[in-house]
């Protein structure tokens, strides 16, 4: 990787707070967050420019990225070629679940998917270089090798979501229309928290990176399908333990006017933002703990 020139443009964060440090802790946090976002955009922009240099290869990877998940939908279409309903859900309803789950994980994957690469950096000792730069390390790792091709997946999921909305006969109310974007953002935040927690784990066990994809991609695949397919214990786990049910199942069922899988009241669909906040807070704590426990390889 070439030398990155963002360092001189960005203020050193957390060191120049001066006399206000004690009185305005929140202000410092905000400044750090803003600096982090700015660094993220700069690094992501640099990687995007470098990817766009090989245009043919870039187009192939965007199309390939979209096809990778489109094949999941082809599978669903083939399944519905053999049956009219699956677990009591029609093709349009399943496409709605598929699209909403895909948009959520697509957003999270685009913005934070690069966190996957932390284990490699821990192994080869390059985390040290990131730590001495005056930019929040989370922003640096999250934007590292930013892959613009992941737009392919996001677009493909969005197309299926729109198609399902045209095919579905939902009695739209202001509440239902509002819950749709809320669901997408909350779902992306929940998957983003999984990516972050997985990266935090890699500070300790760099080799265990693949566990994270059980929760991100495994959760994404599970929520593409109706909850009625799965054993009750599995659904309970998805609601109370690893809350992927709040990515789309709970809000989507409320939008579709279907009963909750565990007989929970309908308003639980509106809990998605709260659940997202809670898992993001937990993931933040995990990240801090992971960073604190980091030991350089010394190389």
């Amino acid at each position: 990787m070439g030398e990155v020139s963002y360092a001189p443009e960005t203020e050193a964060v957390g060191t120049d707070a001066g006399p206000y440090a004690a009185r305005w802790p929140l202000r410092d946090r905000l400044r750090e967050a803003v600096a982090g976002c700015r660094a993220y955009l700069l690094i992501a922009g640099m990687w995007s420019r470098s990817t766009l240099t090989y245009r043919v290869s870039f187009l192939m990877t965007v199309v390939g990225n979209a096809c990778m998940t489109a094949l999941d939908f082809v599978t669903i279409a083939i399944i519905f070629g053999h049956t009219r309903t699956l677990g009591g859900f029609t093709l349009a309803e399943t496409a709605f679940l598929y699209g909403s789950s895909g948009v959520a994980i697509g957003l999270a994957d685009l913005l934070l998917g690069s966190l996957d690469g932390l284990g490699r950096r821990v192994r080869d000792g390059t985390v040290d270089a990131l730590l001495v730069r005056p930019v929040p390390i989370f922003a640096q790792v999250a934007a590292d090798r930013f892959a613009l091709r992941r737009l392919g997946r996001l677009t493909q999921a969005a197309v299926v979501l729109v198609w399902s909305l045209i095919r579905l006969h939902v009695a739209w109310t202001p509440g239902r229309a509002l819950l749709l974007p809320v669901m997408a953002v909350s779902g992306a935040a929940i998957f983003g928290a999984f990516y972050t927690a997985g990266a935090a784990l890699q500070f300790r066990a760099g080799d265990a990176a693949e566990v994270q994809s059980s929760f991100t991609h495994g959760g994404g695949t599970m929520t593409q399908y109706p909850p009625t397919l799965f054993a009750r214990e599995l659904v309970r786990g998805a609601v109370f333990v690893v809350p992927v049910a709040f990515v789309n199942w709970m809000p989507a069922l409320w939008i579709l006017g279907r009963p909750e899988p565990l007989g929970l009241p309908g308003w639980t669909g509106w809990l998605s933002p709260a659940v997202a906040l809670a898992v993001c807070a937990l993931a933040g704590l995990a990240w801090r703990a992971g960073l604190r426990s980091y030991r350089s390889t010394g190389s």
Binding site: Y54, V56, S57, F58, L59, M60, T61, G64, N65, C67, M68, L71, D72, V74, T75, I78, I79, G81, H82, T83, T85, L86, G87, A205, D207, A208, A209, E210, V211, S213, S214, G218, T221, M222, Y225, T228, L229, F230, A231, L234
Partner: protein
């Protein structure tokens, strides 16, 4: 020959070193096995005997897929490394060595596949067997035929990916073609749905393409669907594709090697 045996053993050991990674992978395979198994159960409940499988065979197919995903490297494997060597010019050093490029990488990939069959195949299958009523081969003969089909699948998977890697001599950046190749492998191997469930002409095409040798053929052998003459023709199908693709690899290799000399490495 001793050289390639040594390369094979090193290939096995290289992957056996990372135990945490192996356990993490087993965990992920198991999670995906559960999720996909439930979708198959729902489908086979409404359409019993779809594609010629009963419910137990369909669920077994899911877990076989998870067990063989790494062995036949559906997500790709060595080709990224070889492409890097082609782009950087290091491949010129490889060509100087008193070893054949194709056989060298084949030996390494067979070593890797051997480890993945044991390390990433046995445990997910056992986990699946704990929670679902799986079908187990009735006789040692079926096990032997299954292992032979897996071995042929590994060779075909290698031959395909070797061709993909050699494309880098012309494309330089191989990211796109690697991605497209693994897409084809996942879809046409039966990883997403058994190929016998694919509709009409798509099904006929998918069963004739070499990727079906990576999962569909070994799974059918395991499930005992292919016996006697059908077993022979299934293994023959794999053998023909293996020979054709390895041969194509040799042809492209000689064309590519001439190209290296032109560039001066």
């Amino acid at each position: 020959m001793r050289l390639y045996a040594a390369v094979l053993v090193r290939g096995f050991r290289r992957y056996a070193t990372y135990r945490t990674a192996t356990l993490a992978g087993v965990f992920t395979n198991t999670v995906f096995g559960f999720v996909i198994a439930y979708t198959y159960i729902a489908l086979w409940r409404v359409r019993p005997h779809l594609g010629g499988y009963d419910l137990g065979q369909a669920v077994t197919f899911v877990w076989l897929g998870q067990a063989m995903l790494m062995t036949t490297a559906l997500f790709g494997g060595f080709e990224a490394e070889l492409i890097d060597r082609i782009r950087s010019g290091d491949v010129a050093t490889d060509l100087y060595r008193p070893a054949d490029l194709q056989l060298w990488w084949l030996a390494r990939d067979i070593g890797r596949a051997g480890f993945h069959l044991l390390g990433r195949g046995v445990l997910p299958m056992a986990a699946g067997g704990l929670f679902f009523p799986l079908v187990w081969p009735a006789s040692p003969g079926v096990w032997a035929a299954f292992l032979l089909a897996v071995a042929l699948g590994v060779v075909i998977s290698f031959a395909l990916r070797y061709l993909v890697a050699l494309a880098a001599f012309w494309l330089l950046d191989g990211t796109g073609i690697v991605l497209l190749a693994s897409l084809a492998a996942i879809f046409f191997s039966g990883m997403l749905l058994p190929l016998t469930v694919f509709p009409g002409a798509l099904g006929v095409l998918a069963r004739a393409l070499p990727w079906s040798a990576l999962l569909q053929v070994p799974a059918d052998v395991y499930l005992g669907r292919d016996t006697g003459a059908r077993l022979a023709s299934a293994l023959g199908f794999q053998a023909v594709w293996a020979v054709v693709l390895l041969g194509a690899g040799r042809l492209v290799q000689s064309a590519a090697t001439r190209r290296v000399v032109v560039q001066g490495g």
